[in-house]
Symmetry: C2
Subunit: 403 residues, 2 copies
């Protein structure tokens, strides 16, 4: 199949592009390198050294003999995007090409507007390009479990049958996202569902949980094929950050009570899930949602797990409970259904000591690249103008969130 991987230079986009290329697909990698720009803006950096997109693609060719077609540009630019579709109409589009970071979207008005316009316009453009130049193409869109928030009922996969005043309907699951980034993906979901309805497009919306891990079969082939590993207070996801904090001898920062429960998955399962979606496309006009998670944990459970693994390696890991810079429930019901990908054949890699050991070993290997002053959270949801970048952080602590 001809597959466009939008955002193919990112944490998941790059390994996904290789994963699909390794399986014989004709892969084009699309990116405008905004993620690298935003690192420069925030004073953050991947713990693992990452090659340029060009060097990555050349190394992939050298190591495997396979070609990935690198196209540099912005999907919010329709002239660029539509030309890609006209040049070689894709069979599938895997859409990682969004500003995906919750804290980044909460820095200031500028960052909220950038996140929502970038994501909404990019996705609208993809929908129009499909309708105009590749109407049979399958859009595999990366959304987030954060679209649902934390309702006090079971979270279904995209739709819920509601019984009300003696009548019944199957309706979109109500959304309660908790950042401007998550909100942008709710906007996308509504736009995509509509485009499928009016233009007969087909799409799978993958509401992905929090991804952990850094190694796939393909990234392990050569150091130039490594993907990024974010641990900082803006871009880092929780389990990665905890591993770094353990190695650096910092306390694990569990915001507030740590009862925040979320769905998680291994980076290798992201690869699998996207491929399963591509192999089993929806029918024309169908918009479907898969909850792309394999397990759920509370934040305090993850911290305790890292402490246990650390102790076995002779590390003394402390847990701190700073005031929560986010606005979220710290203890709540959480039960997210995730059977649709399993039914398609997903074989999950469940979180285990083995995985944690391998992440901890990666962190140790690159410990010299650590920027300790970027680890703590420095975006407070309650403030409309957060200091931007690690330069503004006072030594000795994060800016105290207002209660």
């Amino acid at each position: 199949m001809r597959i466009l991987v939008l955002g193919g230079d990112g944490y998941l986009g790059w390994p996904q592009a290789m994963y699909l290329s390794a399986r014989g697909h004709d892969v084009a990698l699309i990116d405008n390198f905004s993620r690298r720009l935003w690192d420069a803006e925030c004073g953050t950096d991947s713990l693992t050294p990452i090659a340029s997109a060009d060097a990555r693609v050349r190394a992939w060719k050298e190591v495997t003999g396979r070609t990935v077609d690198l196209r540099v540009g912005d999907i919010a630019d329709y002239e660029f995007l539509s030309q890609l579709f006209k040049d070689a109409p894709p069979d599938a589009v895997v859409h990682f090409g969004e500003q995906r970071c919750a804290p980044y979207s909460m820095i200031s008005r500028h960052h909220a507007v950038l996140t929502q316009t970038n994501n909404v316009v990019g996705t609208l453009n993809v929908l129009y390009a499909m309708a105009e130049f590749a109407p049979g193409c399958h859009l595999v869109k990366l959304g987030t479990m954060g679209e649902y928030g934390t309702p006090n009922i079971d979270i279904e996969e995209g739709f819920i049958e509601i019984h009300h005043n003696g009548r019944i309907d199957l309706l979109p699951f109500p959304k309660q996202p908790g950042t401007f980034s998550h909100l942008s993906k709710v906007h996308d979901s509504h736009n995509i569902m509509f485009a499928c309805r009016v233009w007969g497009l087909r799409s799978t919306d993958l509401n992905q949980g929090v991804v952990y891990g850094v190694t796939t079969d393909e990234t392990a082939l050569d150091p130039r094929l490594a993907t990024r590993f974010d641990y900082d207070g803006i871009w880092g996801t929780v389990l990665n950050r905890f591993c770094v904090q353990a190695i650096a001898g910092h306390p694990l920062t569990v915001y507030g009570k740590g009862g925040q429960t979320r769905g998680f998955l291994d980076i290798r399962d992201t690869m699998q899930c996207v491929e399963l979606a591509i192999q089993n496309p929806p029918k024309a006009g169908e918009y479907r949602v898969f909850n792309q998670v394999t397990e759920q944990f509370s934040v305090i459970e993850l911290a305790q797990l890292v402490r246990t693994v650390g102790a076995r390696k002779g590390m003394h890991v402390e847990i701190a409970n700073p005031a929560n810079p986010r606005v979220e429930l710290e203890s709540h019901y959480y039960n997210a259904k995730h059977t649709k990908l399993t039914a398609l054949g997903l074989k999950p890699h469940l979180l285990s000591d083995v995985l944690l050991n391998s992440v901890v070993d990666t962190v140790k290997q690159y410990q010299h690249r650590l920027r300790p002053d970027t680890i703590l959270p420095f975006v407070n949801w309650r403030t409309t103008r957060n200091p931007l970048g690690y330069h503004d952080i006072k030594p000795g602590g994060s800016p105290a969130p207002k209660a």
Copy 2:
């Protein structure tokens, strides 16, 4: 109270600004005249002659002695918007300042993107300006009943109690909007709900039905105070269009079967509802939704009503059923609750022969201004590139929608 009326030069914004000014409020009218620009773009025009915003405000002063503060600018420009808040922090913001037209948003990709970025960015800016400069201010946001679509259960006011697998939660009512314009207002609703939660703002989201009528106590004071009356295939709402078609001797265009049922209200009730919301603000941090409708009708019921009134005036009114250029159910369940505004004291003007007579009389008065070639629908939901403007319409009919 100091009240900003965003979009105060529009069909509803202008009479609303006068209505609030007449009741002693300190009203500022904000507009960038984009509605007038879009008329120029589409080759459409108000049936009633309307004065410039400047002439309107001067006439209002001359007739009533009252001052409305006209501020010309774009709320998507934060430098402009925030200065308004700094100059005189408002107690309430009435937000009509969006691209509100469903067919306009469906003309092409350009129009969809314009509609969503204009509306989402404008509203994000209003939320940030409130949080930064007027945190106690009450946002009264005009949304639309179209956010709900046509679910097979009763439509509640913004939130629904869902019983699921033995658990209960009160959750946002699921949204199924049917155009990129309606979608933009769903995006706004999610953004506003979130801003109330994280920043403690207060907002009333008025999910308004289809408004009919052209005359309020204030517009009737002087011809220079008239508001616009849209009847064309892009901007015209259904009942206004039917009255024009009856007078012009054209068949009333009932799309498809005409079973499409929607909530409606008189323009004078919009004035009342907004004032009731302002007089009864939500508490800090509260996001509430009112369904701003007074009655519901199917499209065929409205056509029959116009035919009856026409017959009494000696007109022979025909009803035509062209193929539906929209993608919507043509017969469906519809029952929208609307008790919250009634509970606050709304005294509705129900649709009657008297109102219809007055609209028909207005149309007769300005019949010489009618542009007959703009009446038929010329935007087809199923096409991503509609011919723009009445110039592209072939004589003798509308572009045939593809089935």
